[in-house]
């Protein structure tokens, strides 16, 4: 068969394979898209869930079902809904580790509707402006049409490799990698939210003077403590106003992102080391990481 025709048939088949797990989520004025992830579990983009009540989901077969918000995490822009439907087709998940720049991909919206493009860039772990840690940057060269947020990024074989969102970057179309979606969805189903480590400190980046850097073998950036929450995790460990934090959990810290990177949900309750300079003297403390107080959803 003609190669172009084969490609065309493959793309249409990929849509047909993925579409039965693509749903419409009605949780704001205009619907968004969701993915039937596991029986009765739908994931979508958190920023498209504007209401916690009266949410409905339209399954691929057209049935409209009430949905309950099981959990949401604005940081990673993921929300999980429960629907009373264990019978419908669930998504076939692919492997986002195999993604390469230039791979042909499809973004799907409810309907189904399709958009075609390529992976335009891949990058390391990054922090969203909403404060969530995203395992990997997956940047797309395709159009995310209105209502496409929360829908699947599909590879040429019709497997879901990510969840598309326009809510984490203004001009850039991104996908959250499928392995991360599964991990965050599991945590949301368990706890209803994603916990993050918490020190109870306000800090500001400072440059260390050269003699001190040379003397103690440090990098040029550090963080000066400008606020200590009374009885917070750091206060209990003996951190004082004016201390300069240079390392956390054995890694040097030069800015707040470095600190956040050491305070994932797995560190809550763990004791970690903190190295501070106090009056020019290196002091090591042990802090039991707390859990970040939740903002009102």
């Amino acid at each position: 068969m003609d190669a172009l025709l084969s490609l065309s048939n493959d793309l249409a088949a990929a849509v047909e394979r993925a579409a039965p797990a693509v749903v419409a989520v009605h949780a704001r004025r205009l619907p968004s898209t969701g993915i039937h992830w596991r029986p009765g579990i739908v994931v979508t983009a958190e920023h498209t869930v504007r209401t916690a009540e009266d949410i409905t989901v339209t399954m691929a077969d057209g049935r409209s079902l009430p949905a309950v918000l099981a959990g949401r995490d604005p940081g990673t822009d993921l929300a999980v809904l429960r629907v009373a439907d264990a019978g419908s087709v669930v998504a076939t998940l692919g492997d986002d580790a195999a993604l390469k720049v230039g791979h042909m991909v499809l973004a799907l919206g409810y309907g189904p509707r399709a958009s075609w493009g390529v992976i335009s860039a891949l990058g390391p772990r990054w922090r969203s402006w909403r404060g969530g840690d995203i395992d990997r940057l997956v940047r797309l060269d395709l159009v995310l049409y209105p209502g496409f947020s929360g829908g699947p990024l599909v590879d040429a074989a019709g497997r879901v490799v990510g969840l598309n969102t326009s809510g984490l970057a203004r001009e850039t179309r991104l996908a959250l990698p499928v392995t991360m979606v599964t991990r965050v969805a599991d945590e949301l189903l368990q706890k209803g939210h994603v916990s993050r480590g918490y020190l109870g400190l306000g800090m500001q980046p400072v440059r260390l003077p050269e003699p001190l850097r040379a003397q103690l073998g440090l990098g040029d950036g550090a963080l000066i403590v400008v606020m200590v929450e009374p009885s917070g995790p750091a206060a209990r460990a003996g951190v004082l106003l004016g201390d300069v934090l240079v390392a956390l959990d054995g890694e040097p810290v030069g800015d707040l992102d470095d600190v956040q990177a050491r305070l994932g949900s797995d560190r809550v309750g763990a004791e970690i080391s903190a190295v501070v300079l106090r009056g020019g003297v290196r002091t090591e403390l042990r802090i039991t990481v707390g859990e970040q107080p939740r903002r009102r959803a």
């Binding site: 190669a3 025709l5 490609l7 048939n9 189904p112 395709l142």
Partner: protein, 191 residues
């Protein structure tokens, strides 16, 4: 590693592009009184005996047609349907290469489509994309069009014309389905 699929795909796309260029005409308007005519859009050679289909919004007033072989012919407006944005032009010519017309109802979401037209004055330029949504009044394609594509063919991966590009809505290409074209020709021209 050799490009086992991309090279044949590229070769097939190139031959299809050439085939589509051979059934696509430029439609020029004479509303300003100029003899050469201003580019208004594109059209599809529907039949070898000189029947050309385009959009109603392209065929307003007297028009001429530039054939793929560069011949410029004046065209008679044989029928016009504003509601479906279709117009039939007839030129004095025979033996033209006519489009193979496909069935717009058979389109599947995700299949490849190609468009040829004169976007922003670039003659017989190609755009490639895929079917975005079906089952609506217009075929919706995830494909970049520009003014000047109007009336030109939207074709499937076999090169069969499945629609006439009509407008750009929210970045999507909207095309009049070939079924509407069939019906228009049958009902308005009796053939």
């Amino acid at each position: 590693m050799s490009a086992v699929l991309t090279e044949p795909v590229a070769a097939a796309a190139a031959s299809l592009a050439a085939r589509l260029a051979g059934i696509t005409v430029e439609v020029r308007g004479h509303s300003r009184g100029s003899s050469a005519g201003a580019p208004a859009g594109a059209g599809v050679v529907w039949r070898a005996d000189g029947l050309i289909l385009t959009n109603a919004h392209v065929a307003e007033g007297a028009v001429s047609v530039v054939l793929p072989d560069r011949r410029v012919l004046s065209a008679r407006l044989a029928a016009r349907d504003v509601e479906h944005d279709l117009a039939a032009l007839v030129v004095e010519a025979t033996g033209l290469s006519a489009a193979e017309i496909g069935d717009s109802d058979a389109l599947r979401v995700g299949e490849l489509v190609l468009a040829v037209g004169n976007p922003l004055g670039v003659v017989r330029a190609l755009s490639a994309g895929l079917v975005h949504a079906t089952g609506r009044r217009f075929i919706q394609a995830d494909l970049r069009l520009a003014p000047g594509n109007s009336g030109g063919p939207l074709a499937d991966a076999r090169g069969r014309v499945v629609g006439l590009n009509a407008m750009i809505v929210g970045g999507l290409a909207f095309a009049v389905p070939s079924r509407a074209g069939w019906r228009f020709v049958r009902e308005r021209l009796g053939r």
